[in-house]
């Protein structure tokens, strides 16, 4: 432990005195406050805070990720290239201790910086509303929709298979099925998928004068009688001239008369997220809540709620502080992974190549959703070799974009511990540790003094 600590300390000194860290620190110290002042979002305080926290977090994450890659790769490859490692590794220190020391140094440095910059972001976020002297309505809105951590409930997708079957039978009876569907099995399957999607879309779409009702059960807020929020986004079949959709919303218990229901009339811009606040007592004692939308005849278009986040029910179950802290932990997981990656790369590559490799992995991880999709696409036609080479490599890649803390902080969505634990387990305990183990293995067999050009 003593020697690991000595190496770690030396690594931190290196990063600080060679002014590698300094560049990043200056960048963040300058940029964060500037962003705090200059980002106005949609003009409201909430919009301002959302934009700031989104960009602030992304920037901090990007810069610290880069710093982690650079410091970890630099400190190992430089020692090898400038041969200082000759006098270090011949001292009573095991090779794995040397690498662990480097890793510890890089991580300590980055943890301290991460803590520092999260503190800066946190302070700016907390103090901005005070600075702008918000009125009471705005303050409550912030409290309910930003400085909180809310559970998200997406209405369960209805089972449409029965309806699809019925429709199919009816079409068949009427002889309205396309002729090739009856001929081949694959065409038939495709037709069924299309029909299913069609039915599902119908469930999310309301024609003029029609109503959609979503039913939620087990809605349990952390405090009784606190507000709930419906977060939604309209999509339309025909663009209205002013891009506005008129709607009448209901919320309450509709299981027995007399209905105990709240109603809201609104007009909202299409393809933009809005939230409707519902009083807490709209939820029945057993946690049941029905939410309805009526496409009023003022519109002359079909209104569609896009799949995924088209309609969600939000209610407070945690605090902003807790959420913020867990978001920082998510970033830390990334840093740990990247540090291990950097160490691994530098055990067998020279500085520029190792940096390049790490950056490529970092950017792929940042667009992992896209990459995974394209691999799925290729994978359909590929053979065994592909499945045993490319697929494991892709599996090893982390998914930074899927678990972006910004996605939780901006809509004030709960980022619960179980998710953080899962990310930590997969990204750190499995992937990062695997990389580290490979690094230790390579390094323990490496001919340190062998010069490759």
């Amino acid at each position: 432990m003593h020697s690991i600590w000595a190496v770690a300390l030396n690594t931190i000194r290196q990063a600080l005195r060679m002014k590698i860290a300094a560049v990043f620190i200056v960048l963040l110290v300058v940029l964060l406050p500037v962003m705090g002042v200059s980002m106005t979002g949609d003009g409201t305080i909430k919009g301002r805070l959302q934009t700031f926290i989104s960009y602030g977090f992304s920037l901090t994450s990007l810069l610290l990720c880069l710093l982690t890659i650079i410091t970890s790769v630099y400190s190992v490859t430089n020692d090898i290239k400038q041969m200082q490692i000759y006098t270090v590794i011949t001292k009573p220190i095991r090779r794995f201790q040397f690498l662990l020391g480097k890793l510890l140094g890089v991580l300590l440095l980055n943890v301290v910086l991460l803590a520092m910059f999260s503190a800066v972001i946190y302070t700016i976020v907390i103090f901005t509303p005070r600075y702008f002297k918000t009125d009471i309505a705005e303050t409550t809105r912030l409290k309910n929709e930003f400085f909180t951590a809310r559970a998200t409930v997406i209405p369960a997708e209805e089972d449409v298979s029965k309806e699809v079957e019925k429709e199919y039978a009816k079409l068949k009876k009427d002889g309205q099925l396309p002729p090739d569907v009856l001929a081949s099995k694959s065409a038939n399957d495709k037709y069924m998928v299309w029909l299913t999607n069609q039915k599902k879309l119908e469930k999310r779409a309301a024609a003029v004068g029609h109503e959609i009702i979503w039913k939620f059960s087990d809605v349990r807020a952390s405090e009784p009688n606190q507000s709930l929020f419906i977060r939604f986004k309209y999509d339309v079949s025909v663009n209205p001239p002013d891009s506005l959709v008129y709607g009448r919303w209901f919320a309450g218990d509709d299981r027995q008369l007399p209905y105990d229901i709240y109603a809201f009339d609104r007009k909202d811009t299409i393809r933009t997220f809005y939230e409707i606040e519902i009083p807490g007592d709209a939820v029945a004692k057993d946690g049941y809540l029905a939410v309805g939308f009526l496409n009023v005849p003022l519109n002359n278009t079909v209104v569609i709620f896009p799949p995924g986040d088209g309609l969600e029910l939000l209610y407070k179950i945690g605090t902003f502080n807790g959420n913020f802290f867990r978001s920082v932990l998510l970033l830390l997981c990334r840093l740990i992974f990247l540090a291990c990656l950097g160490i691994l790369a530098s055990t067998f590559l020279s500085f520029p190549v190792a940096i390049l490799l790490c950056l490529v992995v970092f950017f792929i991880a940042s667009i992992s959703g896209f990459v995974a999709e394209s691999f799925d696409f290729f994978g359909e036609g590929a053979g065994i070799i592909y499945n045993y080479t490319a697929v494991p490599v892709v599996m090893l890649l982390p998914q930074f974009d899927k678990l972006n803390p910004v996605d939780y902080l901006v809509p004030a969505r709960i980022l619960d511990w179980s998710l953080v634990a899962e990310v930590f387990g997969i990204m750190v305990c499995i992937k990062a540790l695997l990389l580290l183990a490979i690094a230790l293995l390579i390094f323990s067999r490496k001919e340190i003094a062998k010069i490759t050009i």
Partner: protein, 413 residues
């Protein structure tokens, strides 16, 4: 197994036909840096490893310290493997160049290495101060070593190698870049450490240093040991008898000569000991004459002709300075003297030509004097000396001298 242990008890460093072949990524350009090297270095011995540039000295050391894996053979250091912390804790290592962390100060550097040895902080602090004192860097101890001059960095490197009070000290050209006082100090230090029972492996090109301190030496060429033995025995010309006296009159000398001639022997009144330098050149020249393979430099005594042809650059520079031309002349003379395929001389540089040629002739004749083909002493495993004797027996004295020097100078062209 038992035999192994006995061996380990006896030798601080032992290698068993160590071979290291470097190849590039494709396995081409094979370089045999060390070949079939079997070294045995006893405890409490000062062992000198000599050889021209690229003869495999540093490579040998790197293998001993597990910085390189041998292609064949194996090595035992202090009865084990140098990667074992128990063993590396007893080794001090000064690499070829002082590879230091440029951003650390002298004191921090020693602090860092002290921590690696897990020295308790009190002991560490004490040793650091005394080492800084010893290498004379106390006054600059808080400056970053990146700003140090070469010799200063070397001194920190040396201090670093000594911080654990090692039982085995491996020094790769410790005196490069050091001033004469520093060099003297290191020599004294080495002898002092040996008195205290330490073992020292020393690589150096400065033969005078090696001669002064080493008990035994090995001369490497092309990765192979050309000669190995006790310094005294290697340098002893066994076919000669040396009589060392105080100042005696010419009469006495004449009387002695008479006595000697009555023994049917010639008598020359000079020092009968080879200088190590001569010996070294002879061994290397012999190896080159047999065109043994080397992956290193093939040394010559020649100077690039742009320096010697006509008016040298040096000359031009100094002739402008008038006064300084006196100091320049001997340099030019020295250079021209060397290009006349004369051996390297140890004569003082500031001398006129007449004075200078004399010691050269003296040295030449010393070089060319062939030992009579008597049996070489068993301790001296001087393989090439024999070959050379056979070769040169038929030659005239002067031709021999040429062929050796030609061997040195022409092979490289």
């Amino acid at each position: 197994m038992e035999k192994q242990e006995i061996l380990n008890m006896e030798y601080a460093i032992e290698t068993f036909s160590l071979t290291k072949v470097f190849a590039d990524w494709w396995g081409r350009n094979r370089v045999c840096a060390v070949e079939d090297l079997s070294l045995k270095i006893r405890y409490n011995e000062i062992f000198g490893l000599l050889g021209p540039n690229g003869s495999g000295k540093t490579t040998t050391i790197k293998i001993l310290l597990s910085l390189l894996h041998p292609t064949k053979g194996r090595s035992v250091v202090l009865g084990g493997n140098a990667t074992d912390p128990k063993i590396s804790a007893r080794i001090g290592f000064l690499p070829e160049e002082s590879y230091l962390y440029r951003y650390l100060s002298a004191r921090e550097t020693l602090e860092f290495y002290g921590r690696l040895f897990k020295l308790p902080s009190k002991v560490r602090k004490m040793r650091i101060e005394s080492l800084l004192d010893m290498v004379g860097l106390k006054a600059v101890a808080n400056r970053a070593v990146g700003t140090f001059s070469k010799g200063m960095a070397r001194r920190i490197g040396l201090a670093q190698a000594l911080i654990n009070d090692p039982d085995l000290l491996i020094l790769d050209e410790p005196t490069t870049g050091l001033d004469p006082i520093g060099t003297r100090q290191i020599k004294d230090l080495i002898i002092e450490l040996a008195k205290r029972g330490k073992t020292i492996l020393l690589c150096s090109h400065l033969l005078a240093d090696v001669e002064d301190v080493c008990d035994r030496i090995a001369i490497l060429y092309g990765g192979k040991i050309q000669s190995e033995g006790k310094v005294k025995e290697l340098l002893q010309r066994s076919d000669k008898t040396q009589i060392t006296t105080g100042h005696i009159s010419d009469m006495a000398v004449e009387r002695i000569k008479q006595i000697v001639s009555s023994e049917q022997a010639d008598c020359v009144v000079t020092s009968p000991m080879d200088k190590l330098e001569t010996f070294f050149i002879r061994i290397v020249a012999a190896a080159q004459q047999q065109s043994q393979p080397t992956s290193g430099a093939v040394s010559t005594t020649q100077i690039g002709n742009f320096l010697t042809a006509g008016e040298s650059i040096l000359d031009k520079l100094v002739s402008a300075g008038g006064e300084q031309s006196r100091t320049a002349n001997p340099i030019e003379q020295k250079l021209s003297a060397q290009t006349d395929t004369q051996p390297a001389h140890k004569g003082p540089v500031a001398a006129d030509k007449e004075y200078q040629t004399k010691p050269d002739e003296q040295l030449l004749s010393k070089l060319t004097e062939q030992p009579k083909p008597v049996a070489t002493e068993p301790v001296v495993t001087d393989k090439n000396a024999k070959a050379q004797q056979l070769e040169t027996e038929t030659d005239e004295k002067e031709q021999t001298s040429k062929s050796i020097l030609d061997g040195l100078t022409e092979d490289g062209m």
